[in-house]
Amino acid sequence: MPKDVPGITKRILFVSLFLTLLLGAVGFLGISTGSSGSGFRAVWWALVNDSRSDPMSAAIIWHIRFPRVILAALVGATLSLGGLVFQALLRNPLAEPYILGVSGGSAIGAIIGILMGFSRFPGVSMTAFGGSMATLLLLLLMSSGHSKFKDSLLLSGVMVNAFAGAIIMFLMSMTQDSRLHNIMFWLMGDLSLADMHQIGILALVLLPCFGLIFRFSHSMNLLLMGQEVAETMGVNIRYVTVALLVTTSFMVSLTVSYCGPVGFVGLVMPHLLRLVIGPDHRTLVPACIIGGGSYMVFCDILSRVLPEQGEMPAGVVTALVGAPLFIYLLKRSGR
């Protein structure tokens, strides 16, 4: 037996380190990109507080681009992790918060929160959380008791999504509220509303959730062996499932209340990373956090660079990449 298999701890550290470097590079690129364009050197000066930095571009970099990059990284991390967790728990490679309708459910909750005049945190986040938990319960109820659990879950998700879309449109046409004026943008995933204070709160709430999910990463491995086998290897299935589903939908609804439902992010990174680093969730969880963050920052850069004028919602880019991947995976899983 060859002895060159690196231990799991080493693998986690190596993968995390590599992806952190990637995130750093993409993040730096993100901070350097924008309509007012101020080359890499100016960005570096602003970041290290060099005296040659001019105050105008330093302000843009610190107050507009930096928070935006951090927000993108947090959203990407959350959604990738959400996809990973749903795929493991539901044993379905196509599961993802957006596709299952969980994002749509939190969007309804968020809009209700906005219309009731709540502040983004904790008010809107909590109504969004309520919406996502309600859709999750609805989904599990609708799809349980079917023999073809995998397909019925996706179908339920499609229906929940369509229903959520209708409710959102209904709410929008019933109110002429100015608070909803840029809701269309928000509905496709909008990262432009970032200010440093709010992002600080978001990070403080999300980081413990990441930690909690990492704690259950080995249980997710064991769950892949089948429920009964996992149980007879000491996994408390009900406890693990509830903890993971609630944490995940909480994180997803937080990001939805900040920047709307961004689709398909939870599909791209987990699949790509599984191909490269294998199926072990103890490496996949940190990899999805850091790699998913990098992916979202990259998509956000594209959404700022591609349009001739202004920008497009980041969700447009993620859907352009993710939807074809979904179709490919669906075709493959049908075989």
Binding site: M1, I8, E228, E231
Partner: protein, 266 residues
């Protein structure tokens, strides 16, 4: 009487359909115990209850002379290991990684590998003859190989009892005998109690120290193969014509189904 596992008067119903009715039996420590019976007789439900993952309405289950309710999940996992009938093949863990998972009830939450885990893993893989497959992925293995990987994983749990749900169902003859021999060896060398659900009456007759025959959730007969596998009880349980004689291989019965086209009447 020291029993590894004892079931006292257990009943279970799914809705209004009764699946198990007043089941009582006990399995002696270090024995090979095989549960047989026709389809839908409640074998798998009984298996789940013994594995601690199935519910039951009435009765009690004792494991190593302790009520199973007194065990924590992890403690139970260090006492009983389970090999399922349908082994999942939709993930790409390597054989080594899967076998190592059997150590998790002895490890911390993250399942980090310690030195002794490596030793136990190696022994389990040698025992089941899968060392050469260590770095192959599960989804590239044949059914028989996958079965042995899952058995090695169960052995890694260092259980006192191993439960197997129809482990030979989808295997060719050579693999069937290999799995049964492996269990016999596990019983003799490590003193592990083996409890198996099987469809194969003849394998059960050859290997089982004691058999339990179930039909429609009730016990038809239990005891050594020679007592359980009689013409009368088998006909009652399976409802078809069978020939029961002594096997030319030794002092145990051989059961042969009698095809209709022979037009034999009793």
């Amino acid at each position: 009487m020291k029993s590894a596992l004892a079931v006292h008067d257990v009943s279970y119903a799914y809705g209004t359909t009764s699946i198990l009715k007043n089941i009582s039996f006990s399995v002696q420590k270090g024995s090979f115990y095989i549960i047989i019976g026709p389809n839908g007789s409640g074998k798998t439900t009984l298996m789940k209850i013994m594995a601690g993952s199935g519910k039951f309405e009435k009765g009690a289950v004792e494991i190593m002379d302790r009520p199973c309710g007194q065990y924590s999940r992890r403690e139970l996992a260090r006492t009983i290991a389970f090999v399922p009938q349908n082994i999942p093949d939709d993930f790409s863990f390597t054989v080594r990684e899967v076998v190592l998972m059997g150590r998790s009830p002895h490890q911390g939450v993250l399942g980090l590998e310690r030195k002794e885990d490596g030793k136990i893993l190696k022994k389990a893989m040698a025992f089941t003859g899968i060392e050469h497959l260590a770095h192959r992925k599960i989804d590239q293995l044949s059914g028989g190989e996958r079965q042995r990987v899952f058995i090695a994983r169960a052995i890694c749990q260092e259980p006192r009892i191993i439960l197997l749900d129809e482990p030979t169902a989808a295997l060719d003859l050579a693999h069937q005998v290999r799995i049964m021999d492996l269990m016999e060896q596990l019983k003799n060398e490590k003193g592990v109690t083996v409890i198996m659900v099987s469809h194969d009456i003849n394998l059960a007759a050859m290997y089982g120290d004691r058999l339990l025959l179930l039909k429609e959730g009730r016990i038809v007969s239990q005891g050594p193969a020679g007592e359980v596998l009689t013409f009368e009880t088998l006909e009652k349980a399976y409802g078809c014509l069978l020939l029961v004689d002594e096997s030319p291989l030794g002092a145990f019965p051989r059961v042969t189904p009698v095809p209709h086209k022979l037009n034999l009447e009793i």
